[in-house]
Symmetry: C2
């Protein structure tokens, strides 16, 4: 059975099938997460009526479950970056993002995102979202503290370091501990409520409504067991998340992610928004890609260690971002992957680790470790010898780990098993979605716009397009930035139609 056969029908209704309109609005938004709330704020600020339909009983979406990091920079730096002396030029950030996402980058979107980054940070601050005036110069997935500015990607690792001046770009919302996304969402939710937006919880969007000219004119939602027809003069904005929670869709579209084990998102990430778009001929793109991580720091000391296959071969600079390392793990032709560390690198692993990898061998010499791991004779021994010889000189000619994380490893050694599927934590989520223009207009495969339909957040395909190039904060940055653009565009379309109605 093909995956599609198991998913929920989302076939669009024709306007001729609609007996009555139960709700009329200028803009209808599906999903009350980071993208939906940003769209609602902008549309309301443009002076049009807005209804949000959220399938769950509370606002938040996956944004509320996130670390509350927003990846922004460019134009000489955000207010926060400048305060700590980072002169973040747009050319560096743009080149960096294009390197990250490779041939499938949307260059126009990247340019718009970089150009608008400074203003977007100010917009978030204006919504009373708290950012502490601080820069935390540590290797962390998220701060454990309430600090703000961090390096959250591959800015300081090879090969990016050789091409783009690094700057810390993740702006973390202020909250002690991890998971500041909920603070971010509290403030976005309040901004939405303050603007008198009509919010419907436990309201499931079922399908789009399409007119004779193939324009989207509304949406059918189910509230309290009743199907309601919503007319949306300006358009419908799909901000319903990605599809990481739809096991069949992941298997069909992003099979490499099936080896990960912690789907990262909210239960509503079932791909329903993407499916609604596809049901009216929208192009879903980049569907095979996803974020896949092995969150091996803290403790950051593990970065001094060495990651090897069951051939005893290294394959990546261990100082790369955890998402790049996780993505590379999935690509290895190897039945096991090990993290090899010495006692100093092991450090506080037992206390701090959250990747949950087991110690599977220890050795008073590398030969002993090699034997205990049942690796082919001398393969790991040689790798270690070579690594140490170069590390002694602060060099890693093979994988270009930077000098800050290079030193010879010394016996005794410890091996952690980080093979996908063997207990360690591999969070993942999807990076494919509806093809959209900068303002969120959804595109058909032939490049024409579906009139009246917008998408943002992980329902669309945005800035992040490869697991190997992901940076913490780029999803929330993308969702809120392009959510705003969609809100502005749909509001403008509503106003145009009001003018033409008046004229007629």
């Amino acid at each position: 059975m093909s995956a599609a056969e198991k998913t929920v029908p989302t076939k669009a209704k024709k306007v001729s099938e609609i007996q009555q309109w139960d709700i009329e609005t200028d803009v209808a938004i599906v999903g009350f997460g980071g993208a939906g709330s940003s769209a609602a704020i902008e549309a309301a600020d443009a002076g049009v009526t807005v209804h949000i339909f959220e399938a769950s009983s509370a606002a938040g979406g996956s944004t509320a479950l996130s670390g509350g990091e927003v990846y922004l920079g460019g134009n000489g730096g955000t207010a926060m970056q400048r305060q700590f002396g980072f002169d973040d030029q747009s050319a560096d950030m743009e080149k960096y993002l294009l390197m990250q996402h490779g041939p499938q980058s949307d260059e126009a979107k990247v340019a718009a995102y970089v150009d608008g980054g400074v203003a977007h940070f100010d917009w978030l601050v204006d919504k009373n979202i708290p950012f502490k005036q601080s820069f935390l110069d540590e290797r962390v997935v998220e701060p454990m503290t309430d600090d703000c500015l961090i390096y959250s990607g591959n800015e300081k690792t090879w090969p990016e370091i050789e091409h783009c001046k690094p700057a810390p770009r993740a702006h973390v919302v202020q909250m002690a501990g991890m998971g500041a996304g909920k603070v971010l969402m509290q403030h976005l939710q309040k901004a939405v409520e303050d603007r008198g937006v009509n919010i419907h919880y436990d309201a499931r969007a079922l399908c789009l409504i399409i007119d004779e000219a193939d324009s989207i004119v509304g949406i059918v939602v189910r509230i309290d067991g009743k199907e309601l027809n919503v007319k949306a003069q300006g358009g419908v904005i799909l901000c319903a998340g990605g599809f990481v929670m739809n096991e069949e869709m992941v298997k069909q579209y992003a099979p490499k992610l099936t080896r990960c084990n912690i789907p990262t998102g909210n239960p509503g990430d079932t791909g329903s928004g993407i499916q609604m778009g596809m049901s009216v001929g929208a192009a879903a793109i980049n569907m095979h890609e996803g974020f896949a991580s092995i969150p091996f720091y803290p403790p950051s000391t593990l970065t001094f260690g060495m990651i090897v296959t069951d051939k005893g071969q290294r394959f990546i600079n261990e100082d790369a971002y955890h998402g790049r390392v996780g993505t590379a793990l999935l690509e290895q032709n190897s039945e096991r992957i090990y993290f090899i560390v010495d006692v100093d690198a092991y450090g506080d692993y037992e206390k701090l680790n959250f990747m949950n990898a087991d110690v599977v061998a220890t050795g008073d010499s590398i030969e002993e470790l090699e034997q205990e791991l049942k690796l082919p004779k001398s393969c790991l021994t040689h790798t270690m010898k070579l690594y140490n010889e170069f590390a002694e000189q602060g060099e890693d000619p093979m994988f270009h780990k930077q000098p800050a994380w290079l030193r010879p490893l010394e016996a005794p050694f410890v091996a952690l098993d980080i093979t996908p599927g063997r207990g360690a934590i591999f969070p993942y989520f999807t990076l494919g979605g509806l093809d959209t223009k900068i303002a969120g207009e959804v595109l058909k495969v032939d490049g024409t716009v579906i009139d009246g339909l917008y998408a943002a957040g992980r329902t669309s395909c945005g800035i992040p397009r490869r697991g190997s190039g992901y940076n913490s904060g780029i999803s929330i940055g993308d969702a809120t930035f392009f959510g705003r653009q969609a809100g502005i565009a749909a509001a403008a379309r509503a106003k145009e139609s009001q003018v033409s109605d008046t004229a007629a």
Copy 2:
């Protein structure tokens, strides 16, 4: 700009826009290659009228440009396999194909394909397609001779060899030299012509025609500069090839293939069939995958050599199928990939090679070769030492190259540069397409069938789903086998509608 913005509009027309029907048929087929001809033969044999619309001025499609290999087996073996003593059990072939294509396999399709393989071979023979009674037990991409049966995948390589009893399954159409696909197509074309099928050359399909109930009722074609409306009672079968010739679509949907350099297919492989399907809400799946090869044999002696990265590391068993090796090359974190051989393995390379890789270094010792290649000190030397130690015992504990291809390599050495983008030939084509059921019915993303629409060949997503699991002959096997199913299904639907017309 998103890729979609550059493609040709394929938006479906509504039946209400159609002024008159210029052609009326039971079954309309787009594309006269392997899939289209097989569909036409079956539909004609079922006694319905058939029109084929071929965009170019001759039959053939990519099938005619292929090696004329058809990958078939199971049920104890085809007539050809049995003749040479191969008892090819369905369980082995099925397991093998599922290993090849991994989590994205369509299990139902694989089962149907294996189950119908013996009969499909007989069907081809019945169409007078010549197969010589011969088995060529050599490592070849295609026979240079007119021989028939060959091993054309990873049947005898690790890990498949440990799980599925190997059998040669590529049945190569008889013709001296490479490119027997044209002989295959000549006979299929003749079978189509013999059945009185209406064939239109230089006839470009522009868009589907859809009725009020969202059924496909026909297609618009352009012939002699005129747009003609074709009514198809039984349905439209899209056999218009894949999208390898559409650079923007490849970049958007299958970015990893952009590093290859020889798009393999016919100029009509622009994705137009896939786009027509998507325009009416069809799900396109597996769009990121493709065949990517480095055709490094002949001479097969190169298989004795060693493939290494710019870290001097091996990464694959060199006796794997050229498509698996090519796919693995694209996944390496390495700026260069080298084939390291000794004089014996180099053998007739200069005479026989068609991969076109340059000799970039030679060395009287491995240390000298390592230096000449500017590799980090001792990395290649160690790899060679270890390889030779194990090869001496007929073992390859790291990558499991089989004993037949293992022997120590001896100085002097030669290095060929097989880095993608550095001159060597990397053929590629796409493996994504419309999601279909076994009988070719095209599916929407919600799993419902698009009434009246069928697809086969590379317009659909068939048996082959991963470059790493491709076998020569699986595309032609898939296209002809599932083309037939689509022809049978559309003919049956035409007959049903005739019955209901009569009843009414």
